[in-house]
Symmetry: C2
Subunit: 256 residues, 2 copies
């Protein structure tokens, strides 16, 4: 019974990847053409992006409501993406910058997600995002908690999460060992980790992204990609996914 | 009884303007300090702006739900505003332009508001917006219907509403006389009308606008202005106004 469940779980996972799977040393072939993939949302995020902070928190809430949607959280590098897309930060237009401050506070008030603009902004998050790639690979079970913590430190607690000491002290309670976090931080220097962040950012760009948060949405049973930009597109995602939209605060109990 | 009602209506209108009013040749002084103004939304729009088209249509729907909110529709000139604010159209960033097309179709699908990107875009709507100023002044009762018609002609029927002949034939059935519409069109050359469009645009800029649609929202009893940009801010406006948000299609029967 347990073996069957496990087999089903692996089958399910493999059907998403559309691949062949090795299970208990038996090579199993799936006819992927007849297996409809589940709906999915891939979020490309950078800790430096305030709307990504809201986008991440809203996605966490919506995942509770949209139970049949797989969620993938992909670290990417906003400054690199904007440069590739030849895009400019909103605040380069004075009125847009001023509006953004008011708008972020309005989003916070309407969603119940706490928010305080940090005293240092923007900060260079390239190391932060490389570290999140390392954590995604080596601490899969704690990866999401790490994202949440770093967002909270920067966008609520005014901690400069581009600094090594801030990262170490923020993540140590989650990972359980300062030495281990130090070790992960050292791994950000590896060529492969650097390249993974470049690759994620390039993949986002190729999917049409020019800023963050970017959501790549696929309906169940379809490989067509729908790209959404901004923390304010959940109602449109709901429409594309043919799922209900519950508002910015879908579950009052989930309010932070 | 009728006189009293009329008096009340004028009193109400005057309380909004915070002014002295002449009623039936009696000068009436109101103590405006004790009269709470009603909630209000001022929309600055330009026919050339696709998100203003959605913003206008959504505002029309929301006005049915938010009955205690006064609505004012102010013609403004988008190209002038963007130049004053030193802002660039989204499509100057290639990926942003491509995204905008998909996003507009998603907004249309989610809201049920029909939409077809016109073959000529952008077009120079300075005459169109001046004409709407004339209509606002001389055809107050039909003004909103004229806006609706011009939006529909441009954003559903691929009619170039910057052209005089298109404007005349679109508006004649509403105004009831081609000669009258011709006369209104001639009035767009008046210095005062030209200046009114400049003034509206400048007022929007001074309120923080850098694009359209721009909504200036005031809560009942307050003079504080809350500025919102985009057709996607109704949920935030609802939060500020402490009114319910019903989604992009609040009233299924209102679907166009």
């Amino acid at each position: 019974m347990r073996a069957e469940l496990k087999k089903d779980a692996i089958k399910k996972r493999c059907s998403r990847a559309g691949s062949l799977c090795l299970l208990s040393s038996h090579l199993i072939h799936f006819d992927i053409s007849t297996m409809a993939p589940r709906a999915s949302i891939v979020l490309y995020y950078d800790i430096v992006s305030p709307y990504s902070y809201f986008g991440f928190n809203l996605l966490k809430r919506y995942r509770q409501q949209w139970k049949d949607v797989d969620v993938v959280l992909q670290p990417a590098f906003l400054a690199g993406l904007m440069s590739t897309a030849k895009n400019q930060p909103p605040a380069t237009v004075a009125a847009k910058g001023a509006y953004m401050f008011a708008d972020l506070n309005n989003v916070s008030a309407a969603s119940g997600i706490p928010f305080k603009f940090p005293s240092e902004f923007p900060v260079l998050t390239i190391q932060t995002m490389r570290l999140l790639i390392v954590l995604q690979r080596h601490e899969a079970d704690k990866y999401e908690q790490c994202i949440e913590k770093l967002y909270e430190e920067y966008w609520c607690n005014d901690k400069n999460v581009s600094q090594k000491d801030i990262l170490i002290s923020a993540l140590t309670p989650i990972i359980g060992s300062e030495a281990k976090v130090e070790e992960y931080y050292e791994m950000t220097g590896q060529k492969e980790i650097k390249q993974a962040l470049i690759d994620n950012t390039q993949t986002a760009f190729e999917a049409g992204a020019f800023g963050m948060p970017t959501f790549i949405v696929k309906k169940a049973g379809s490989d067509e990609e729908h790209m959404f930009f901004g923390s304010d597109r959940f109602e449109l995602m709901a429409s594309v996914l043919e799922l209900p939209y519950y508002g910015l605060a879908p579950n009052p109990a989930a309010k932070l």
